[in-house]
Point group: C2
Chain length 305, copies 2
């Protein structure tokens, strides 16, 4: 799957290839202007968003910037997906841009022996590069079906918890900083909230680093439910995309789209942020750090800094 | 003269040595919390403010941080002052801290042959270090009396324009990024506004880089007048200290001080910012750059970034 290709398909379902560069940028800047004031960070990609948001003044000064580092899509077959990095882009460039972290999207199935070790190697290499650059790395994983039977959403929901939790275990054993994960399974097929909470607690135990929930384009109401359960189980928040704004892609003229984003989109961002603040585990608590001590600094700090 | 020593003297005129580290930090954090939300940047020093403001949450995310790089006071005699850098501090550390620029305070008299060339050497060396680190350097200059006759403020005001304008010429010939300057002379001794405007225009012609006005602890009403005249003549704004908040040092208990800063102090910051926005020359215009083009970025920007 190709996320940015998917945005083009959302903006022009019949002719995604006719969506222009400027239309892509305008959509991302509209998103950023409307939602970023209500979140602690926003994720943008180099081709259409990161530099553009800064230069065009769409990124509020108080909102952190996360920048993706992988190329759109994947190499290999649909059943054995390998992440490729965006050419001519790097952690050093992200750092120079003033970003606060880079994001690596990884298709991952721990049970696909053909590519899983290569994907882990990539994460490890990047994690070392980031440590050397003193720059945080966020890794996002996405599972995918590899057998015909798994193309049935109900069947996939059944095997997904095992995949998601084992993925968390393997990926966060590497020296990454933040883990962005799928909800362990779809509440559409597992309506028992106690069971969902238990799965998220298992995910929390599997993750050695602070983790956040991704939206994977589910409906907003469903995502809100997932964010609340995940945060109650130990997540530190959310890093959601389409669930917050997907209706905007068909909202008609740009002004109507902007109005939708400034009202409904911003309202969703505020609501989810409030949920994370109320129920989430602060990143430092997940890391076993004392929140009180984090707010202090000793005299002469700058000498050994 | 010692600015930070002077803060201690303001906080406890009879026993400046009894002002504790924590009292200094609290004062700077109170200032930062009250005024920084209304300004584009705030200047703090490593010993008492920069790291402390970040860690204690006093610096709003949308306000840039400038960090001083020189040690308090000066070496040499009162008549031949040489700047010394803060030990165990560096441009690399300021950059790692997330600051947006470093500030170097320079006592400077172009006519004191004993130290002027050394001071210029220091600026040149630092400017090169900053260029290499891709980090902006702001240089602040302060004139001072060197003959007994100059200790008379009226006499000093008479010679000051020549000093200030020649200083601008010499300092901004070096590859620095922003120049923080004294007002060319005191409006107390030169009440003719047309003459003051003409002096500021001369200062503007002498400065090859964007420049801002410092307050040198004059009364707020006087500083407001200076900021307006300087901005009309080509300045890009102000970087003021005591003129905005000096009454706070004698405002009684901490709560009263905070109330003063949040009302009077914040009001002054807002008023001066509005003056700079209305009358000032944008930094890019001073640098001969096209403001329209600054707001655009070409497709594929990240490849050659």
């Amino acid at each position: 799957m190709d996320h940015r290709g998917s945005l083009q398909r959302m903006l022009n379902p019949e002719h995604p290839d006719r969506v222009t560069y400027r239309e892509m940028v305008d959509f991302k800047l509209d998103l950023c202007r409307a939602l970023a004031p209500h979140t602690s960070a926003v994720l943008l990609d180099p081709p259409y968003g990161a530099g553009q948001a800064i230069v065009e003044g769409a990124l509020p000064g108080g909102t952190a910037l996360l920048v993706s580092i992988e190329a759109t899509g994947y190499a290999g077959t649909g059943e054995a997906r390998a992440t490729e990095l965006l050419p001519n882009w790097s952690v050093e460039k992200a750092k120079r841009l003033g970003a606060s972290a880079t994001k690596l999207l990884l298709y991952y199935r721990p049970d696909v022996e053909k590519v899983a070790p290569k994907q882990l190697d990539l994460v490890e290499r990047l994690a070392q590069e980031h440590e050397k650059a003193e720059f945080p790395l966020l890794v996002e994983t996405r599972s995918y079906p590899i057998h015909d039977s798994e193309r049935d959403p109900r069947e996939f929901a059944r095997i997904q918890p095992g995949i998601v939790i084992e993925t968390a275990r393997q990926i966060t054993a590497l020296p990454i900083d933040i883990f962005k994960t799928e909800f362990p399974t779809s509440p559409l097929y597992e309506p028992d909230e106690d069971r969902l909470l238990e799965l998220c607690r298992e995910l929390d135990r599997a993750s050695r680093v602070p983790w956040v929930i991704l939206s994977a384009g589910v409906d907003y109401e469903l995502f809100r439910k997932e964010v609340k359960i995940a945060c109650r189980a130990g997540a530190s928040g959310f890093l959601g995309g389409r669930a917050l704004w997907q209706e905007a892609t068909s909202a008609g003229p740009r002004k109507e789209r902007q109005r939708f984003l400034e009202t409904v989109g911003a309202g969703r961002a505020k609501e989810l942020t409030a949920l994370a603040d109320s129920y989430g585990t602060p990143w430092y608590a997940k890391m076993g750090l004392d929140g009180e001590r984090l707010g202090t600094i000793e005299q002469g700090w700058y000498e050994a800094y």
